[in-house]
């Protein structure tokens, strides 16, 4: 099934060159070579049925009819050797530490602005900067408790950080479910390796939440706040609540009285101490942010500011993962930690700066332009694939609101073999075989009493040939991601 496999000039995760797998992939590659397309297809169907019957789905907003979809699952696992992971882990810990110090600084002394490392205008112009948080002390000075950092591998085989998702990163439930399904449909490959376990993530998440509980709560009540059953990540919200054994609440279940937050139970009101909110800042409290929000809880921000309830993540962390502030993360690492960044950024041109803007406008046909206010692959221009009209439209948008745009060179994502079944994924000649598809990697980092990086993460796959867009809302799929215990699989 690897006939005519091409590595096409980009970094291939599995093969050094066609026919020669990397050392840590050799056992898996051999196992796949020994299978025929029908046997593989049977396993893929089995996985699909498992996902559907378990209701492991996400919601697509633009699609009126089939609102609930299965996240396409690609059965070939991505494998990361131990030494490579060790570097990633150190880099991610360094990064989340700096980002937390940055949030603390921005909402208090603003040293980084006073020393002119970052232009204050960039901060005050950030949509996600929350004046309401200025001078507020958050429990244990932790702002970003949960981070999902997007990593990609360039043509040089080096990892780059594409963005830090420090608000409400999603996808971790798929990581855990992918692993569970993988063990059921492909035990043979799984057992060839010593793969590091990820199953303690929910426990670590609960510990992270309990760590920031108000001091008066001896046995804190933790909950997850969801926008509701129609949210695209609803499955994940229920999954995490179930795994942690805590309640999943909606805004309508909560009330604030005398500065404390309570939930409505069959036995009356019950105090809530820690809220993992999967709701954007904007919708949290109609008295403080958007008045038309019916998803939030009136008075929640007051209870939060006086420290009667903890929010995970803190309000206002969006300032740290703003795409126009992202280019300064290496400076933050330097400034707050006095260290050199372990993980590199992708070079980024901030259109708010005149020189950068000029460069972006002159190179619209080569760059990727991203809106700083959107995520999930929306509001993006892939310059090299865009028409002249699309480029002109973006030029206009950039001139009108330069603060809202950044430009980056196209990063050639690494590729990984994917099974082309002719339905979800079609190969070049339509036959059923393996072909390279671009992938990224989103590890999850928890910042509690200590910083814990889950060994693995969500590998997202662009299922269309040649596409660089991996977002699930744009037709991406996912893979199980294995971090190995030691260098070699047996």
């Amino acid at each position: 099934m690897f006939q005519n496999y091409e590595t096409g000039g980009v970094f291939d995760e599995m093969f050094v060159e066609p026919g020669t797998p990397r050392r840590h992939y050799a056992p898996a590659a051999q196992r796949l070579l020994d299978m025929d397309a029908d046997a593989f297809e049977r396993r893929r169907r089995m996985a699909d049925v498992l996902f559907r019957n378990q209701g492991i789905t996400f919601t697509v907003y633009s699609d009126q009819r089939g609102v609930e979809k299965i996240f396409p699952f690609d059965l070939v696992p991505r494998i990361i050797p131990a030494d490579e992971w060790e570097t990633l882990e150190r880099g991610l810990i360094q990064r989340i530490t700096a980002l937390n110090l940055f949030c603390q600084d921005i909402y208090h002394d603003q040293r980084i602005l006073k020393e002119r490392i970052i232009d204050p205008e960039l901060i005050y112009g950030a949509k996600m900067f929350r004046r309401e948080m200025f001078g507020v002390n958050v429990p244990r000075n932790i702002y970003i408790h949960i981070c999902g950092t997007d990593l990609v591998r360039g043509g040089d085989g080096k990892y780059y950080v594409l963005e830090d998702n420090g608000r409400t990163p999603s996808g971790v439930s798929y990581v855990l479910e992918n692993r569970a399904v993988m063990k059921r449909v492909f035990p043979a490959i799984f057992n060839q390796y010593r793969v590091r376990a990820i199953e303690d993530y929910p426990f670590n998440l609960l510990q992270t939440m309990r760590h920031v509980a108000p001091l008066h709560a001896t046995d804190p009540t933790c909950v997850i706040l969801t926008p509701g059953v129609y949210n695209s990540a609803y499955f994940e919200h229920t999954f995490l609540a179930r795994q942690m054994g805590i309640d999943l609440v909606e805004g309508q279940d909560l009330v604030v009285e005398n500065g404390f937050v309570y939930m409505r139970t069959t036995a009356g009101l019950r105090r809530v101490d820690v809220i993992y909110r999967r709701l954007d800042d904007d919708f949290l409290d109609p008295l403080c942010f958007r008045q038309d929000s019916i998803l939030g809880v009136a008075g929640l921000m007051n209870a939060y500011r006086v420290g009667n309830v903890a929010l995970v993540n803190a309000v206002g962390t969006g300032v740290a993962d703003d795409k126009a502030i992202y280019p300064f993360v290496p400076d933050m690492i330097n400034f707050y930690l006095g260290q050199e960044p372990i993980l590199a950024n992708v070079p980024t041109y901030v259109c708010a700066r005149p020189d950068d803007r000029k460069f972006v406008l002159e190179n619209l046909d080569k760059l990727v332009v991203k809106s700083t206010n959107e995520s999930g692959g929306y509001g993006m221009l892939m310059g090299h694939q865009a028409t002249k009209e699309e480029q002109a439209k973006f030029a206009e948008l950039i001139r009108a609101n330069p603060r809202d745009y950044v430009g980056q060179p196209v990063v050639e994502l690494s590729q990984h073999p994917s099974f082309c079944d002719g339905q979800n994924v079609t190969s070049g000649d339509g036959s059923r075989r393996f072909e390279g598809r671009r992938v990224d990697l989103r590890p999850y980092i928890l910042y509690g009493e200590k910083v814990i990086v889950m060994p693995g993460g969500l590998t997202r796959v662009a299922l269309r040939r040649g596409s660089l867009v991996v977002n699930s809302s744009q037709g991406g799929g996912s893979k199980d991601t294995w971090v190995l215990e030691d260098e070699e699989g047996e």
Binding site: N53, V229, Y234, T266
Partner: protein, 337 residues
């Protein structure tokens, strides 16, 4: 030196933990999830029994056959003007299986049960969710209608089994705590309601047709009534194969130990409501508990001959009203305060 896994360093962990009270919205969803699953089972059974029954009694007059089919609508409290055309049996079947416009079609019931389950996905077991989700995909799949046409009886049987599996998993994979009690109340209230209406419509029709029914045909109809409540075999074990309208009514209303009789269901619903109240630490009976408690005593001491002398219909209607009152009182006490 041996190390015990039970000796933690420092303090002893708290072991005697009281379950925490549940969210009102979760209780509400628990209730409706269970109630809709139960309803889908009744619809499937009624359709299945009617198809068999009308085969058994042979050629009825068109008017009679029409009225027999309409009892399904009356039992499910649906208006009797049916959409579509063609033979009445096929129209009813279409309407009661896949019509999304009919709130009591099997598809609607299971879709609503699943919607409620999805809203409380985190508080029900994976096994329970998967059984319901799988059942949903059985009725919502593109090929579902074709598979129904191919073998209606098997398909309806699978729906009923789906409900039974759901109930079994509910009993065996969920704690018998407050949330479980909400599913029990819902199931039994629904069963009482459907059984009472089924008895009412069918006995009314049989009474109206009495002149035209000879004993063998009446027997087939009485078997149909028992089958509609899944009670034929249990009745036979008690009374042998001898069918008698009074005995049938007595069995369906008052049989103490049979899980389809009204009395059994009322007692179970009352016990579940009591369980809900006790787990909240309240000591005196709640409003819905009192309502069902009074009904339970009534059923315990009632005499079928008295009931028939005063009219079966008003008696059955009183039961339906009481169930409705209990249902509203329950919502007021726990969901909408």
């Amino acid at each position: 030196m041996s190390v015990s896994i039970f000796e933690g360093a420092g303090h002893a962990p708290a072991v005697n933990i009281e379950p925490r009270p549940m969210l009102s919205r979760d209780a509400d969803s628990m209730f409706w999830m269970s109630r809709y699953v139960e309803r889908s089972e009744h619809v499937a059974r009624l359709l299945r029994v009617h198809t068999l029954l009308l085969t058994d009694v042979g050629d009825l007059t068109p008017v009679l056959e029409y009225r027999m089919w309409l009892t399904i609508l009356t039992t499910m409290r649906l208006p009797s003007d049916l959409p579509g055309d063609g033979p009445i049996g096929a129209r009813i079947a279409r309407y009661m299986t896949f019509d999304p416009g009919n709130p009591s079609s099997i598809l609607s019931c299971i879709a609503k049960a699943r919607e409620n389950a999805r809203a409380i996905r985190e508080s029900i077991s994976s096994e329970l969710w998967e059984s319901l989700n799988t059942l949903y995909w059985t009725v919502n799949d593109e090929s579902a209608a074709a598979r129904y046409e191919e073998a209606p009886d098997t398909w309806l049987y699978n729906i009923m089994n789906g409900s039974m599996l759901f109930q079994g998993l509910n009993n065996q994979t969920m704690g018998h705590d407050q949330r479980w009690n909400f599913t029990q109340v819902a199931k039994f209230l629904e069963r009482i309601d459907v059984t009472a209406r089924m008895m009412d419509t069918r006995f009314e029709l049989l009474t109206a047709m009495a002149m035209q029914l000879d004993q063998p045909i009446l027997n087939i109809h009485l078997m149909g009534v028992l089958r509609s409540a899944c009670s034929l075999e249990a009745y036979r074990r008690l009374h042998s194969a001898e069918l008698d309208a009074t005995r049938v009514a007595q069995f369906l209303l008052f049989q103490r130990d049979y899980p389809r009789s009204v009395r059994f269901c009322v007692d179970q619903a009352r016990d579940a409501i009591e369980g809900i109240r006790v787990s909240n630490g309240a000591r005196s009976p709640s409003v819905p508990e009192r309502i069902l408690g009074r009904l339970s005593s009534e059923l315990e001491y009632a005499d079928i001959n008295d009931v028939l002398a005063h009219g079966l219909t008003p008696y059955l209607q009183k039961i339906q009203e009481t169930v409705n009152e209990a249902s509203i009182a329950l919502q007021k006490a726990y969901f909408l305060y």
